[in-house]
């Protein structure tokens, strides 16, 4: 079929028209091979502009469209939709960004015009080598697997569960709730942990859309957004694994704490009355804070940042719960003296600051210190430390509470392998992007919630649960098919020599190897279309739709002409 | 094509033939009969020649219509330009007769589009072996010019020495130097395109061609004798499996002969494809049959496979032999085989674009000698 390319140059009000001699551009391109019309218009993205373009495509019987205007990041979609409306494939369209990349950055009108001509010509040449791409649609299963029955998992389930979406909650222990169960109170408002968790667990049990598997572990997860095959196994039982299919997976496996035995200087397990934060939470919950000999402690030291050097990061929550412990102690043992040994205080946010100030009002010493050593001295414990001026000092107390660093849960590694989600600093699950993708992972359809991704307190865990929920609800709508990326890689079976170079550079495990045919195969649903494998393939067996060798090369050729 | 060639145009030679031919081409461009000329040109280092597509007339003066070597087969040059479409430019392609014939074969095979191409050939004295030339181009030039002056061919490539089609016209125009009066040469038209160009250039074709025809006739008859004789000797040397194996014993399987062959046009040669890659036990089995297996194996299979694939279109241009790093007389062997296979169908590769390829046509009654009478 004969090519009829329409070229439309947007004046963008004064933005382009004042900086570029649009008529010159039109003269320069209207005679080009395949160009059947080249025109200008005042504002193509306006409602009437869109209508104008739509009519033009039909009236001129265009087969390809080139728009020289603003950034494709602004309006590529807009004009592609018009193409679709007008009945030509939206991928037979190319934009030249003569506003941001030309009109706005060039001093002199001649120069700007020359560059605009060049850019428009390149776009025209490129579009000649475009080919139609068709939308793919695949069935998306809206159901979700949530791994981990702590507050993170529980919250996610409740947020997600609704009449036409099934949620599977898998917990490796025998009961739901996780760490919070042990917390008598939670900072900053000192609400009992049970208040937060009990009702939620009830709601979970009541909700028939949520199926809970306790004492269970995930054995296998294979698939992609909208279609993951899941295998479960009951812990310590040789029964047949439960199998089901979900559309998304949430990793909410939470965290545990650093083992202070690895830092002997704190005397943990060697001295009586030296306990960890978790042990203290339990002791406190039982209602009886006492020393080994049954007496009540009169002086207590709380050591922050235990194991921080070893793990190499600030655990974010220790300072706050250590202050919470001060409250515990003061509530239960009037006029007790508490010493908090810290290296840096981490008291972020508006409410926390207030909590901190109220806490340190009475009988608390905050001691900035380093090189802490804890030794037995008579029937007391002495904390030996260097103060801010590096002076060695000693302080003797009845009881020492260690606040160890937060570390990933023990089964994080195993899950990382099963889901092939990479692990970031400290071994926590790695989010897709520190800033831009805090709950997503590099595998579409797998999300991280709570301290499985890094130390977190309850409120930020809830925030993440809601964020992940939002992602899932919008990407998996019951009855609605999912549209995977169209501009994906393809590997020619006849050209592939099977050197697996592409496999090793792919970030998403989107390429598999066909052992019988000895060729690489792209899973188009997983592929994100970065094109890395294409540049890596020496024999040009790999290509990527809409960024083919030809398209980019021809654009290049025209640009340097 | 194939119009009666009894009349031709004549061009006066000014300083020397080369200049006059180039001048003729320049006229063609001046009069916009063609927009570009495809013609050999010395490479900057001066140690070889390459085809150049010339649009800027000023470059023509450096071109040489009759280079002493054939580094690239002109047919490949034409196909490189027109395989994906005839394009907008009218192009005059100046090349030797065997190159024009290969171009015609490639056209039959859909590898070139001649609509906008004007094929111009010339009486060919042969070319020198490439590798010798590139290593001492000065000496080479001297040799070549002397050979032409003396009308000798002993310095030329073996296949050129036995080429009986060195003046065969397959294109549109032909530069005839044989039998031309002193300081002139013929411009022989072989097609309507050719006639059109001559008339546009106002060169009338009123000159009698007999002198050229008879000279050509003599030469090709004499060469044909040499050819038959040479093939006879060659046959006795390479005929029979042992001799054949021995002839190819030094072959290192670089497939150069195939790569430079104008009528080997496949993108991926069958003999480079998966079809010739076998599991290890296959090689082992074959080794065990004879005690040992030469590696790379299947050399003769490759050579005979190639004969099967292209001998009907082989134009004996000698590219394969030039490119062979082991100096195996590939071109001579192939020319021998080609003569015989083409004779079967009384086919001459590239002689006439209207002649169908033997493998895409048949006669109800033919090749009876090959059939089992009973």
């Amino acid at each position: 079929m004969e090519r009829k390319i329409g070229v439309y140059i947007c004046e963008c009000g004064p933005n382009i028209s004042e900086k570029i001699d649009i008529d010159k551009v039109i003269d320069a391109v209207s005679k080009l091979d395949g160009v059947s019309v080249a025109k200008r218009y005042k504002l193509l993205c306006s409602e009437e502009g869109k209508k104008y373009l739509l009519d033009e495509i039909k009236k001129q019987g265009l087969t390809h469209l080139v728009v020289s205007a603003c950034s494709p990041r602004d309006h590529e979609k807009t004009f592609m939709e018009i193409c679709e409306k007008a009945g030509i494939n939206p991928y037979l369209f190319q934009m030249a960004n003569i506003r941001e990349h030309c009109a706005w950055i060039t001093e002199n009108k001649d120069d700007a015009t020359k560059k605009a001509i060049r850019m428009t010509k390149a776009a025209i040449r490129r579009v000649r080598y475009h080919s139609s791409l068709e939308k793919k649609e695949i069935e998306g299963n809206p159901d979700v697997l949530v791994i981990g029955g702590g507050i993170a998992g529980i919250e996610t389930c409740l947020q997600l569960a609704n009449s036409n979406r099934k949620i599977y909650l898998v917990e490796k222990t025998s009961s739901l709730g996780g760490l919070i169960n042990n917390f008598e109170k939670t900072y900053p408002n000192m609400v009992p942990g049970s208040d937060i968790i009990k009702q939620r667990i009830e709601d979970i049990k009541k909700n028939e859309n949520i199926q809970v598997f306790t004492d269970s572990e995930v054995e296998e997860i294979i698939g992609f957004l909208g279609n993951f095959e899941v295998k479960l196994k009951k812990v310590s039982e040789e029964n047949v694994p439960v199998e089901f299919n979900v559309g998304a997976v949430v990793l909410a496996t939470g965290s545990s704490v650093f083992d202070p035995e690895k830092t002997p200087q704190y005397g943990y397990k060697k001295l009586d009355n030296v306990i960890t934060s978790l042990e203290f939470e339990e002791m406190n919950k039982s209602g009886k804070i006492s020393l080994a000999n049954g007496e009540k402690p009169k002086t207590v030291a709380i050591i922050h940042c235990v194991g921080r050097e070893k793990v190499g990061y600030c655990s974010d929550i220790c300072c706050m719960y250590s202050l919470k412990f001060v409250r515990y102690l003061q509530d239960k043992i009037p006029n007790i003296k508490v010493f908090n040994f810290y290296s840096d205080l981490c008291i972020p946010g508006k409410t926390y600051q207030k909590f901190y100030e109220q806490t340190i009002e009475k009988n608390v010493d905050l001691i900035r210190s380093t090189d802490i050593n804890i030794e037995k001295k008579a029937n007391k414990i002495s904390v030996i430390y260097k103060d801010e001026n590096k002076n060695k000092k000693t302080l003797s107390v009845d009881m020492v509470i260690l606040s160890p660093a937060v570390i990933p849960n023990s089964d994080t590694n195993k899950l990382a392998e099963i889901t092939s989600i990479s692990q970031g600093d400290g071994g926590f699950f790695a989010e897709e992007h520190e800033k831009l993708g805090p709950v997503s992972t590099t595998t579409e359809g797998i999300y991280i919630v709570g301290s499985a991704q890094g130390p977190k307190d309850i409120s930020s865990t809830i925030i993440q649960a809601e964020a992940a929920t939002g992602k899932i609800l919008t990407s998996l709508i019951p009855g609605k098919k999912i549209e995977p990326e169209i501009k994906v890689s393809h590997i020619s079976e006849s050209l592939c020599i099977g050197c697996k170079t592409c496999l090793s550079v792919c970030s998403y495990g989107a390429i598999t190897f066909d052992e019988t045919k000895k060729v690489s195969v792209v899973n188009e649903v997983i592929c994100r279309g970065c094109g890395n494998c294409v540049a890596a393939c020496p024999s040009g067996a790999a290509s990527i739709k809409h960024f083919t060798f030809d398209q980019l090369y021809q654009e290049l050729v025209e640009a340097v002409q | 094509m194939n119009k009666p060639k009894n009349k031709a145009a004549v061009v006066k030679v000014k300083s020397d033939i080369e200049k006059s031919v180039l001048d003729f081409l320049k006229k063609g461009m001046d009069n916009e009969i063609f927009d570009a000329v495809l013609i050999p040109m010395k490479v900057p280092a001066g140690d070889s020649f390459a085809y150049v597509l010339i649009k800027d007339k000023s470059l023509l003066k450096d071109a040489s219509y009759l280079p002493p070597v054939m580094p690239v087969q002109g047919a490949n040059a034409v196909s490189s330009i027109t395989r994906l479409g005839k394009g907008k430019m009218k192009i005059a392609a100046v090349m030797r007769p065997c190159e024009t014939r290969a171009t015609v074969e490639l056209t039959k095979l859909g590898q070139t589009d001649l609509e906008n191409i004007i094929l111009i050939s010339m009486d060919c004295p042969g070319v020198l072996p490439l590798s010798d030339f590139v290593n001492d181009s000065k000496k080479g030039m001297k040799l070549f010019n002397e050979s032409i002056k003396k009308e000798e061919d002993k310095e030329m490539r073996p296949v050129c020495q036995i080429c009986d089609k060195s003046s065969m016209i397959a294109g549109d125009l032909h530069i005839g130097t044989l039998g031309a009066k002193k300081d002139t040469f013929f411009v022989i038209s072989n097609s309507d395109k050719g006639d059109e160009i001559l008339s546009k250039l106002k060169i009338s074709k009123n000159e009698d061609l007999d002198s050229w025809l008879s000279k050509v006739k003599n030469i090709s008859e004499e060469k044909l004798k040499k050819r038959k004789n040479a093939h006879k000797i060659l046959k006795s040397q390479v005929g029979g499996l042992d001799n054949l194996l021995d002839t190819f014993s030094q072959c290192i399987n670089c497939h150069n002969c195939m790569r430079v062959c104008p009528v080997c046009y496949c993108r991926l040669c069958y003999f480079d494809s998966d079809k010739v890659k076998h599991p290890s036990d296959d090689y082992l089995m074959r080794a065990e049959k004879t005690g040992s297996l030469r590696c790379p194996s299947d050399i003769t299979l490759f050579q005979m496979g190639r004969m099967m694939h292209m001998s009907l279109s082989c134009v004996s241009c000698g590219m394969c032999e030039d490119a062979c790093p082991m100096d195996i007389p590939v071109a001579q062997i192939f020319s021998m085989v080609a003569d015989e296979t083409q004779d079967l169908f009384d086919y001459v590769s590239g002689r006439d674009i209207e002649e169908p390829l033997p493998f895409v046509s048949y006669k109800e009654k033919e090749l009876e000698e090959m059939e089992d009478a009973a």
Binding site: K500 | K55, K88, S249, N256
Partner: protein, 368 residues
Amino acid sequence: MTKAIVINKTADQGLTEVLKFLLENDRVKGVFTLKKINKEGDVSYSLITNADDLKDSVPFYPLMPVNAAKILSRFTLKGPSDVPIVAVLKPCELRAFIELVKREQGSLENLFFISSTCAGVFPLEMGKERLIEKNLSKYFEKIKKLEILDDLRPVCRSCEEFVPYNADMTVKLIGENIDKKSIIFLNTKKAEKLVEGIKLDVSEKDLDKKTLDNFKSKRAEEKKKIFADIDKKTNGIDGLIDLFGRCIGCHACREACPICYCKLCEFDSSDCEYKPSNYEIELRKRGGLRVPPGTVYYHLGRLDHVTISCVGCGSCEDVCPVDIPLSAIFKKVGESVQKMFDYIPGRDPKEDLPITTFEKEELTEFEE
């Protein structure tokens, strides 16, 4: 100290005896080695399964008809060998094969490698002219004196990687009385097991490091010269055009290159075909264009594709019908690229190819 078999024969004869033992005692089912294949004495790699055929074998014939890595790759491409096979090859050939294995183009399984300290080989040209036989004695005289023979290929004369990596056995081929004594080092347990019970005296020996270092320094000297010389020629685009101007586009260099393993080379693919409009554009720009175009592009592109793994075997130059000094160019560029990643192609099968991996903190001098 390593165990070594010592035989009072030439290296060729000595090793042939060992190979004979291996075949006759079914330690291996086949032997890849160089072998005389006709009365003219032409030499070619062969897969030998019958011990009697070993009589014509010349494992250390100073010629590289093809890079053996290509042969081994072809042999194991469709899957590893089911039976034990021993291959005698030059250090650079062995390194090339390792590189191919890294690219899934072959398998090490069931293969034993015998290599040698390599004194280099003559140009293929001399093999073609059948001139090697005449020069053999000269060849050995020179290595005995640790001198570098001028007739050898430049890429060999300048090779510093003449001690094999990953060889199960290494045959001493550099140093005195190599024509009287052949010393075969058993570098691996695999090797020791392979020759178990052989009726030859096995003793503890060591490759004489001093000799090798001495030899290496001479090679380094030679390399300096050759690199300096090519450096003058690879002088910008004009230099490249002078170098590659004579290229006839046969792509034999790629065909012979052990690292070029693609089914269809990018430079033969439709990606590299000029459309009529491309010709028009180029002509508008340049007034004229070489046809077929892309000679320099091809060589630069191939350089980019293979340079990481180029073992400097010189096959490309051997087969070039117009004698372009390819090996010097590729060796020089290859070495500087490889140095950047502290990578020696074929040194270790477990080493990742630099193009398939990365360090987060590296090459910062290249970025802004």
